[in-house]
């Protein structure tokens, strides 16, 4: 499987990362180099093997669905690039 510049453009859009036109082809080359290398995994017989999703075999703990010590609104907004009246401010979404 090989990545072309259109595929890079597509995954860059999925990733919400803006890319300049002239950066697409070089990035395709880099990603193809990495993919060609990881494709050696095809040599491994994984028939009937369960995928490993975590490093430890432990059931996830459960707890009461109750509020804990959440940070204050002021604390949460302190690092925001733009905030107003207790809200995060973003560019206009609808005209």
């Amino acid at each position: 499987m090989s990545i072309d510049r259109d595929t890079v453009l597509r995954i860059a859009r999925l990733s919400r990362i803006a890319m300049e036109e002239d950066a697409l082809a070089p990035m395709a080359d880099e990603l193809n180099g990495i993919l060609a290398w990881v494709e050696q995994l095809d040599e491994v017989d994984t028939e009937g093997v369960e995928p490993m999703t975590g490093a430890i075999a432990a059931a996830l703990p459960q707890r009461e669905d109750s509020a804990e010590d959440g940070a204050s609104t002021d604390d949460l907004l302190a690092n925001a690039p733009d905030a107003d009246d207790g809200f995060f401010v973003v560019p206009r979404v609808v005209e």
């Binding site: 919400r16 990603l31 490993m52 999703t53 490093a55 560019p91």
Partner: protein
């Protein structure tokens, strides 16, 4: 340089308890060292006032005979840990100016044990790198040089600032995080001890996430005993991390009995990598001999899937990273680059905020998780990961620990291995398998290359068997009697 900065944590504890010197004196000596060592670029934030105030409080406690495990011990903290009110940016431009309103569990545990923070350390951006050259705060300089050369070398990565700071005696110990080798490989490159505990032993709460099924915090120190002391304070169950394990933390320092007569050490044939320098092979053979001389049984073992660990990691880790790093959108914290609508703002912010290696990994991760490729790449890698973990399970039926080199080469010059990402990824070829299997592992400085650079040997143990890991590492440390150290900043080269 002050003799106080050359102490181990264990010696410093003894000196503080006996009131041979005060915590304030110890901290002031380290502040002077950090100032003298600014040329290494190991620290990205200095919190001297914080450390001094803490030292005075520590002296009051010590005077009252109420010193805790790490009372008055000056440490450094990797910039990946959230520290309340102090920059926590994972050395990424996208987190520019971020000072969290909360403290990570691991650092909170250290402060509850009496430790003091000198500052935050440099690292590869979001821990993605093996040479500390992807940091938005610039590269870190390894305090070691090749004999007769002055070319600056990398400290390894991603915990490069922590490793350089500990090696240069700017702090007594530092926190690191290890996703595929990010504690152990820089420890080897800088001639110090670096330890990654079992996945789930330290809480990940308040650690800036890279690959959540792999990330683990651990200590970087100058001795195995110091690593045991630091981990003692860092480890423990935390309900705020769902993968944190609820089991008691044993007395790790007490496990350093100096005896390995009852242990069987496995040497995996598959770690003999083509093109590996002869001196690393020779050091590995020394390690085998040292264990035999100490009375351990050493046997050859096979970990057949070893060579597939690195490509597995470079699917699993970027996939998880692409998901974790989706949160950086320019809305709630950090950098924002304006756009006409939110989508444009996200894309511009992320293009400007993430460095080249981070962008590359997000793209790879997005690709292997995307429709049509998920099974071929991501699911396949997760299945191979199962087989890699089974390899270790089978090996641990007959051995107590596995001995390997830490890295396939010594520290290299800043700027080398930059053209080919896969050449850089090879740094972690020996450390990644234990990460994928979630196993505890440690790098111990064990020898020098012909041109005078440190090399590490690496031990891997069963899940939650940190006591055996520390015990074997302690014996390895004594037998290797490394004893070398780089000149401290300001110290004569000839020292």
């Amino acid at each position: 340089m002050s003799a106080l900065t050359a102490l181990t944590i264990a010696d410093a504890r003894a000196g503080l308890a006996a009131r041979t010197f005060s915590a304030r004196e110890l901290v002031d000596a380290h502040i002077a060292a950090v100032e003298a060592g600014r040329g290494l670029n190991a620290f990205v934030a200095e919190t001297f006032d914080h450390a001094r105030a803490g030292a005075d409080a520590a002296d009051a406690r010590l005077a009252a005979g109420e010193g805790r495990l790490l009372e008055g011990i000056p440490l450094a903290v990797k910039d990946l840990f959230c520290t309340k009110g102090v920059r926590s940016q994972a050395c990424s431009k996208i987190l520019e100016g971020f000072a969290p309103p909360y403290e990570s569990t691991v650092t909170a545990n250290l402060w509850s044990a009496g430790a003091l923070m000198l500052g935050k350390t440099n690292m590869d951006e979001f821990a993605m790198g093996s040479a500390n050259v992807t940091s938005a705060d610039g590269p870190v300089v390894n305090p070691w040089r090749r004999r007769g050369e002055d070319k600056p070398l990398v400290p390894g990565g991603s915990s490069g600032g922590s490793a350089a700071a500990v090696a240069a005696r700017l702090c007594l110990g530092a926190t690191g995080t290890d996703t595929g080798g990010s504690i152990r490989q820089p420890a080897a490159f800088c001639g110090i001890v670096g330890m990654k505990p079992t996945y789930g032993r330290c809480s990940r709460w308040g650690m800036i996430a890279f690959a959540s099924s792999l990330d683990q915090a651990g200590p970087l120190t100058r001795t195995v005993e110091d690593a045991a002391l630091m981990l003692q304070a860092m480890a423990g169950h935390d309900p705020r991390d769902s993968t944190s394990i609820d089991r008691p933390v044993p007395d790790y320092a007490a496990s350093l009995t100096g005896s390995v007569r009852d242990l069987t050490i496995g040497v995996p044939a598959e770690y003999r990598m083509e093109g590996m320098p002869a001196e690393i092979e020779a050091l590995w053979a020394d390690g085998v001999r040292w264990f035999r001389e100490a009375g351990a049984t050493v046997v050859d073992i096979s970990l057949p899937l070893t060579r597939y660990a690195l490509p597995t990691y470079y699917i699993v880790a970027p996939a998880e990273a692409s998901s974790n790093l989706a949160r950086y959108d320019g809305v709630r914290y950090g950098l924002r680059v304006e756009g006409d609508d939110p989508a444009e703002m996200y894309a511009r912010t992320r293009a400007a905020g993430f460095g080249r290696e981070v962008r590359r990994r997000i793209l790879i991760g997005t690709y292997v998780l995307s429709a049509g490729y998920y099974d071929a790449y991501y699911l396949k890698a997760q299945k191979v990961r199962t087989l890699i973990a089974r390899d270790f399970e089978a090996a641990f039926e007959s051995v107590d620990a596995v001995l390997t080199p830490t890295a396939p080469f010594a520290a290299f010059a800043i700027g080398e291995k930059m053209d080919d990402p896969i050449a850089m990824y090879l740094n972690d070829v020996f450390t990644v398998p234990a990460s994928l299997a979630g196993l505890p592992a440690i790098s111990v400085p064990a020898g020098l290359t012909a041109d005078g650079l440190p090399l590490g040997l690496h031990l891997i143990a069963r899940p939650f068997d940190e006591p055996t890991l520390f015990r074997a590492a302690g014996v390895l440390e004594s037998a290797a009697a490394f004893g070398h150290r780089p000149p401290a900043p300001g110290e004569a080269e000839a020292a």
